[in-house]
């Protein structure tokens, strides 16, 4: 899990792990505009420089004058030139980040965490389960799989959100479909007009209800999950019970309050695991093991 040996690890910034690098915002895309209970979501394309990473890792992205927050990378490592961060306005720093414009400076520290090991699943069918903004960390992984399409079997993406308005990256769905992604949508609350459409197939309900709509070949499938803690809990349970996926092939990413991102500040510790260093990607069997002491979700 540890010892990635990435040349661009946190230590490179002047030998001091707390010293960030300054990166420029290249592009800003508003994914979701502020409306009702839906917070603004923005994707920042930030100068990548020589940073190397793998999907599932994150950066401590910061606003000078306010602080740093852990943000997952939503672009694949194969994409040169830019790092993509999809950020929801959740608090002080993330709010300021969503207000950045091209050319503005942000601070970067990382990459942090273990990331997904996609190479371990070569030849398998990939099932992505993404709740709300949980699609952001999975997007890099999905793209990595699509860039090496022939190495994997079926690719299924289940994406659910609170409302249809909160579904992420609708502008990219057509391209994913063209590249062979089987996509299904869910919304906890949805209007008739939305649910009447069939492309992609959809339902009004929880994302776990989509599991009854798909047929998978359990022995050759691996599932990657990201979403709110409750979704991880119930989706992992359901995938095991209904679709017979073993815990070792349910891979989820956790999110926790973090300050340092390098296993020092102590905020993200669950049981004896540091989400920032041992995670944020954990297998369901590891999560169940943690759950004996303290629920990780």
């Amino acid at each position: 899990m540890s010892g990635l040996g990435l040349a661009s690890g946190p230590a490179r910034a002047g030998g001091d792990v707390y010293r960030p690098r300054i990166s420029r915002v290249l592009q800003v895309r508003e994914e979701i505009a502020e409306r009702g209970a839906s917070r603004r979501v923005v994707t920042l394309a930030v100068e990548r420089g020589d940073l190397d990473y793998r999907p599932g890792q994150f950066f401590e992205v910061g606003m000078f004058g306010a602080g740093e927050v852990p943000i997952s990378i939503s672009s694949p490592p194969g994409l040169a030139g830019a790092l993509y961060f999809t950020i929801r306005h959740a608090g002080l720093v993330s709010g300021l980040l969503t207000g950045r414009r091209p050319g503005d400076a942000v601070s970067l520290r990382g990459p942090c965490g273990n990331g997904f090991a996609l190479a371990d699943h070569e030849g398998r069918d990939l099932l992505f389960v993404a709740g709300g903004i949980g699609l952001a960390p999975l997007r890099g992984l999905l793209w990595q799989a699509l860039l090496e399409r022939q190495r994997f079997g079926r690719i299924i993406l289940l994406h659910g959100a609170r409302t249809p308005y909160d579904l992420l990256y609708p502008w990219q769905w057509a391209e994913w479909k063209r590249l062979g992604v089987e996509m299904l949508l869910s919304a906890d609350v949805g209007e008739d007009r939305w649910s009447a459409e069939t492309d992609p197939p959809r339902l009004v309900g929880f994302i776990t209800q989509l599991f009854t709509r798909i047929a998978i070949d359990a022995p050759r499938t691996v599932a990657f999950l990201c979403g709110p803690p409750a979704m991880i809990h119930f989706a992992c349970g359901d995938l095991g019970r209904r679709l017979h996926l073993p815990p070792e092939r349910l891979v989820a990413t956790l999110e926790r309050h973090m300050k340092c991102g390098i296993g020092k500040c102590g905020h993200c510790v669950v049981v004896d695991r540091f989400v920032c260093m041992d995670g944020p990607v954990f297998r369901y069997d590891e999560l169940l093991d943690m759950n004996r002491i303290e629920p990780p979700w």
Partner: protein, 409 residues
């Protein structure tokens, strides 16, 4: 941790003070001083200021490795453009901590291992400020002879004398001080002061062992507090304590955070960016806003100099794990208590850290307003293990006398 072999040297009784005076000339000497009836570790000009008769300090000297507040970064923002200030170029001042007790030395060794990144097999994530300070600090431990009323190091492999973790370990013997040197830093200090040090006479090690044994016996005979580590570790590591048990601990927690602040092995910190010295804390000029409330304005922050500071944080405080998105993993105080005691007592953490998370200093017993020091909680765990039926539902048994009564005359 430096793994140099421990070697035994000798210091004549009358040589200690001149040696300390000499050390104080060369480096910053920090030692126990009595201030308003409490012993604290502060810089001293010479050995004459040191307190000679003390059990332990009010707070652990971890302050000298991990200060309560520390600058990690400084930068300026002008017209929205940041400029990082260069890291401090001046080396950390050499510092010698004298008179540190074994429990606190064990605590420092614990922090040293943690901040080195060794825990994750990632030395590249070593904490630079901590490492800088540790490299410039030499710790001279003095073996305890008389356990204090709340001492429990014997239960936790935290004293009264250590096998490793110290730079120097001094033990008072009949005819002088036995000096054990346990690290490369300690060896360097010995080389600088070679003239004061002799070779330990035959039998010194045996005499030390006998003295330590006598101290342990005094503890066993008279001390009221214990950490039943074996039983507690068994219970907490396997998750055998139910919600009701933790609720009974949490019910007595005032969430003051005192236990973690005085704990020699607690490391958690928060990081905040604050306007630097001489800057107004919040802008009042027109057209600028600082969004303090989620969902508030998202305009840029004000120009000026800022410092990124780490401050001690505390897992017993409600906001410790609160996420900006609204997720709140440890809602109840009982859940937060589980986190704390799991870190201190579990096999899992002991294995990762290579040492128990509690060194038995007993400060949490003195500090806890709710009288839920580690001894009472660990005893509660043992009672669940050995007691009949669902003992966890019963409140923890009252102690014979509270720590406060014993400590305060």
């Amino acid at each position: 941790m430096n793994a140099a072999p421990s070697s035994a040297r000798w210091l004549a009784p009358e040589a200690l003070d001149p040696l300390l005076a000499r050390i104080a000339d060369e480096a910053e000497l920090v030692g126990p001083v009595e201030i308003e009836g409490e012993v604290v570790f502060v810089p001293v000009r010479g050995p004459q200021e040191l307190c000679r008769d003390y059990v332990n300090s009010l707070v652990p000297p971890k302050e000298y490795l991990l200060p309560a507040a520390e600058r990690l970064l400084a930068y300026a923002v002008a017209g929205g453009e940041p400029t990082l200030e260069p890291p401090p170029a001046a080396p950390e001042r050499e510092r010698v901590l004298f008179g540190v007790r074994a429990c606190d030395v064990a605590g420092m060794a614990y922090l040293e291992r943690y901040f080195s990144g060794e825990l994750f097999g990632r030395p590249d994530t070593a904490d630079a400020p901590f490492q800088r300070r540790r490299a410039a600090t030499t710790v001279i431990s003095v073996t305890c002879e008389r356990p204090g009323p709340t001492c429990m190091c014997v239960c936790c492999a935290g004293g009264p004398s250590l096998e490793r973790g110290y730079d120097w370990q001094l033990t008072r013997l009949e005819r002088g001080w036995l000096v054990e040197i346990g690290s490369e830093r300690g060896a360097a200090l010995a080389r600088r002061h070679e003239a004061w040090l002799g070779i330990a006479p035959p039998g010194a090690i045996e005499e030390k062992r006998a003295r330590v044994h006598a101290t342990v016996e005094r503890f066993r005979a008279a001390n009221p507090h214990r950490v039943p580590t074996m039983a507690a570790t068994r219970m907490v590591s396997a998750g055998r304590l139910d919600e009701a048990f933790w609720a009974s601990v949490g019910d007595r927690c005032f969430e003051c955070g005192g236990c973690a602040y005085v704990c020699p092995t607690c490391w958690c910190f928060n990081v905040v960016d604050v306007p630097g010295v001489g800057e107004a804390p919040f802008p009042d000029s027109p057209g600028t806003e600082v969004p303090m409330v989620p969902g508030g304005p998202t305009s840029a922050v004000r120009d000026g100099r800022y410092e990124r500071i780490r401050l001690r944080d505390n897992c017993q405080l409600a906001g410790f794990v609160r996420q900006a998105g609204g997720n709140y993993p440890r809602w109840t105080c009982g859940e937060r208590c589980l986190t704390r005691f799991f870190h201190k007592l579990s096999e899992q953490f002991k294995e990762r850290m290579g040492a128990p998370g509690c060194t038995g200093c007993g400060r949490c017993i003195v500090t806890c307003l709710g009288e839920r020091g580690i001894d009472r909680v660990a005893e509660g765990m043992r009672d669940v293990l050995t007691g009949p039926g669902r003992a966890s539902r019963a409140p923890l048994k009252p102690a014979a006398a509270t720590a406060r009564e014993q400590v305060t005359p």
